[in-house]
């Protein structure tokens, strides 16, 4: 083993002294989070709860029907917790995060409804960066709205049709009876569809997919730890070694291999922690090796072309973050339009995620070759940048 290799291994050892405990800490946090989620799933009430304030609830049958309809959506896994407030209290509760939103039922809502007139309920949310929560709430309220309005339309349609023939009193009776009958069917609506589970087959399940996406994201982030070791801010040693006959390409390859080794150690810590704590998640080190090779090559490329530590860290983080987002590692890729899905399939992050999900579900695919191709291309480009700087004799940045 050459002296340069020993020097680089020593630098790797210094980096790992901190990178390994940091990765272990991250693993512990992720494992605790995952275990809390798994424990939550086994509990009876594990639904995502949306606390919502209601302002101005009058004691009325129709309102009770509406509130029961909301409660009947509880089996969705998105339970709505309703709490009664005055508008000032609701505003304060929304501000403090006690509730996610509040609905203001306008005065005279019920008497207007009895005349067949529906007054609009104001639904007030506090905008935040969590777009998904808002999306789910809007979906739930849209469903409730449509169910209730269709019932109302049918009941008052029947009233309008019958009133000239049977008179106001009788038509009112029909309206009330028909409203109650329709309400029963709101609660029976789940019986109209028969669910057939086809099984996940050889494609990954949702949880498996997300675990693979998270593994790729963490693999990308782990390479940040080795930036100070790999950014060639001062090539003085390399120039000296070259002048003594040591190949500059050989030195750069050693730099890459040391970065790859660091990446492998970090991923091994992560997988060891996960497999010990949650045996249900089946990820082994073998499929992570080509991913580690690609991630190390990408990081090596960014670190080789940037002459400052800051630039190297920023360029790599920006690339890794963009790739993780677009390639379906943070959101499932099918959330995106077709064009982005096609782009993700050919990007290295998308291939890494695809390769891992293929491996986890026992399928064979071409993603491995793509990953190896990207690794070779990134490494070649990194070597060009690094060797060029050593040959140009750039001592410092």
């Amino acid at each position: 083993m050459g002296k340069y290799t020993l020097i680089q291994l020593k630098r790797l050892g210094k980096a790992l002294v901190w990178a390994v405990p940091a990765m272990a800490l991250l693993t512990v946090c992720l494992v605790l989070g995952a275990m809390a989620m798994l424990a939550g799933q086994s509990q009876e009430d594990s639904r995502t709860r949306f606390p919502i304030g209601i302002v101005g609830i009058p004691d009325s049958g129709m309102l009770r029907l509406g509130l029961s309809a909301i409660e009947s959506l509880d089996d969705l896994g998105f339970a709505v917790d309703m709490q009664e407030f005055s508008e000032e209290e609701a505003e304060a509760a929304l501000e403090s995060g006690q509730i996610n939103a509040y609905a203001v039922i306008p005065p005279g809502f019920v008497s207007a409804a009895n005349r067949g007139e529906i007054l609009t309920i104001r639904y007030i949310t506090k905008a935040n960066a969590g777009g998904m929560n808002t999306l789910f709430q809007q979906e739930v309220t849209a469903i409730i709205s449509r169910l209730l309005l269709q019932s109302q339309k049918a009941s008052f349609g029947a009233y309008a049709a019958l009133e000239p023939y049977i008179g106001h009193e009788e038509a009112n009776r029909v309206l009330n009876e028909f409203s109650e009958e329709l309400a029963q069917y709101i609660f029976l609506r789940n019986r109209t569809g028969q669910v057939e589970l086809l099984g996940v087959g050889d494609a990954p399940g949702f949880a498996e997919y997300m675990a693979c996406g998270l593994a790729v994201t963490l693999a990308l982030m782990a390479a940040l730890s080795f930036a100070p070791m790999s950014v060639l801010q001062n090539a003085g040693v390399n120039i000296l070694l070259r002048s003594r006959g040591r190949s500059d390409i050989g030195q750069s390859l050693i730099d890459y291999l040391v970065l790859f080794a660091g990446e492998v150690v970090c991923l091994a810590v992560l997988l060891l922690g996960v497999s010990l704590a949650i045996p249900q998640i089946k990820l082994s080190m073998l499929p992570m090796l080509p991913i580690a090779a690609m991630v190390a090559a990408l990081a090596f490329l960014c670190y080789s072309w940037m002459r400052q530590l800051l630039g190297g860290v920023l360029l790599y983080f920006f690339t890794a973050l963009a790739m993780a987002l677009v390639c379906g590692c943070m959101y499932p890729v099918w959330f995106f339009p077709e064009s982005i899905q096609r782009l993700a399939a050919v990007l290295p992050g998308g291939m890494a995620r695809q390769y891992l999900t293929d491996f986890a579900s026992g399928r064979s695919g071409s993603a491995l070759w793509g990953l190896l191709g990207y690794s070779a291309a990134f490494l070649a480009l990194a070597l060009v940048g690094r060797v060029r700087r050593i040959r140009a004799g750039e001592v410092g940045a």
């Binding site: 991250l26 309005l149 789940n190 940040l224 072309w305």
Partner: protein
């Protein structure tokens, strides 16, 4: 130029003369614009394949047509047959398939009589059960409910009046259709007037841009540690040793913050310009102070580098970038990203961003012990 100004200017010049850094600054708005444009296409969280056994069945056709158009949550894909729809699910091209059985009108009438799940008239194919698919299924229930209400209405009228029995189906339905109801029961309002991005895919963009600013601060602190190792600022008196880290970090974070503001402006996701600029300034300051405090805590360069993945993941998970996770709220107070995102949604919280920066700066300035 006076010495302090020259010092500040030289630190900035050292950064801004790097073409790589300038290219990176330009890439931030360009790639954000590309991402925002890319996510505007036809997308949905759940893809539903729709099919009917009898293509000529009028009620099945009407029910499928009554399903709302593809939304942010659900994207519908029409299929010609049950087999095609099931295959789409089987091979992962769709999350679920809803297949309407032949003879739907008769099926609905039978179900209304028996009210039994055995007489279900729609088959739902799924690979596995998930809360999201259950939520999507409520769209199907809603549409089928309308078909049931229609049948109940048509059956009820002749029971109540002989005159109704003389009317045609169209004449009876005319009373229903002429009943005026509002389009939506709920009118959505947001209290602070902050415009949420149209797409949930675009909503984390602001948080991710802020994460880049945070990494800029941490990277700058690492760069400063290298400067310390090489003795670049040895000439400065000890009491001013913190100055290059602060000024260098501010140059980096301000440049990145302004690139992020430009990115948000070109994609139409920004808020009022003065709020955006003040919050960007606050974010830059908070990220620099946070980085200085962390740098003070983790003295070796490799320690700070080792912390980068942890800090990044913690910032993205604990701050409300993707989701607001209430159990993690105590940790989110430690992250500059959370204070920035809260200040953007509620401008009165900008002061907290300043307080957070001051606390971090104070932590970074705790006198060092001997050695």
């Amino acid at each position: 130029m006076s010495k302090p100004f020259a010092f500040v200017w030289l630190l900035g010049k050292r950064l801004l003369r790097r073409p790589g850094f300038l290219v990176l600054l330009a890439l931030i708005p360009l790639l954000t614009l590309g991402y925002a444009a890319g996510t505007k296409g036809d997308a949905g969280v759940v893809t539903v394949a729709l099919a009917r056994d009898d293509q000529a069945d009028p009620l099945a056709k009407a029910t499928m047509e009554a399903l709302p158009e593809s939304s942010e949550l659900i994207r519908f894909v029409l299929c010609d047959s049950r087999a095609e729809a099931a295959d789409k699910v089987r091979y992962g091209k769709a999350d679920c398939a809803w297949v309407f059985h032949a003879g739907m009108e008769e099926n609905v009438k039978k179900f209304l009589r028996t009210r039994s799940a055995k007489d279900a008239f729609v088959t739902v194919y799924q690979r596995e059960e998930m809360p999201l698919l259950t939520l999507a299924r409520e769209r199907l229930n809603m549409s089928v409910y309308e078909a049931m209400v229609r049948q109940l209405y048509l059956a009820r009228l002749p029971e109540e009046s002989q005159a109704m029995a003389q009317l045609s189906e169209q004449e009876k339905l005319a009373f229903w259709e002429n009943t005026q109801i509002p389009g939506e029961l709920f009118a959505y309002t947001q209290v602070d007037g902050y415009s949420q991005p149209e797409s949930h895919l675009a909503s984390p963009v602001r948080g991710l841009l802020a994460a880049i600013v945070l990494l800029g601060g941490l990277g700058s602190s690492m760069y400063h540690k290298r400067d310390e190792q090489s003795g670049t600022f040895r000439y400065l008196p000890y009491r001013l040793a913190w100055l290059p880290e602060l000024v260098g970090g501010l140059w980096t974070c301000l440049a990145l913050s302004l690139a992020a503001v430009a990115a948000l402006a070109v994609t139409g996701m920004g808020v009022a310009w003065y709020k955006e600029l003040l919050c960007a300034l606050g974010l830059a300051l908070a990220c620099v102070c946070f980085s200085m405090a962390l740098s003070r805590l983790l003295k070796p360069l490799s320690a700070l580098a080792g912390a980068l993945p942890v800090v990044t993941v913690a910032a993205l998970v604990c701050s409300p970038v993707f989701l607001t996770l209430n159990p993690l709220k105590p940790v989110s107070y430690l992250m500059p990203l959370s204070h920035y995102l809260w200040a953007i949604t509620d401008f009165s919280r900008l002061g907290w961003l300043a307080v957070y920066s001051a606390v971090c700066f104070a932590l970074a300035r705790i006198p060092r012990g001997k050695g």
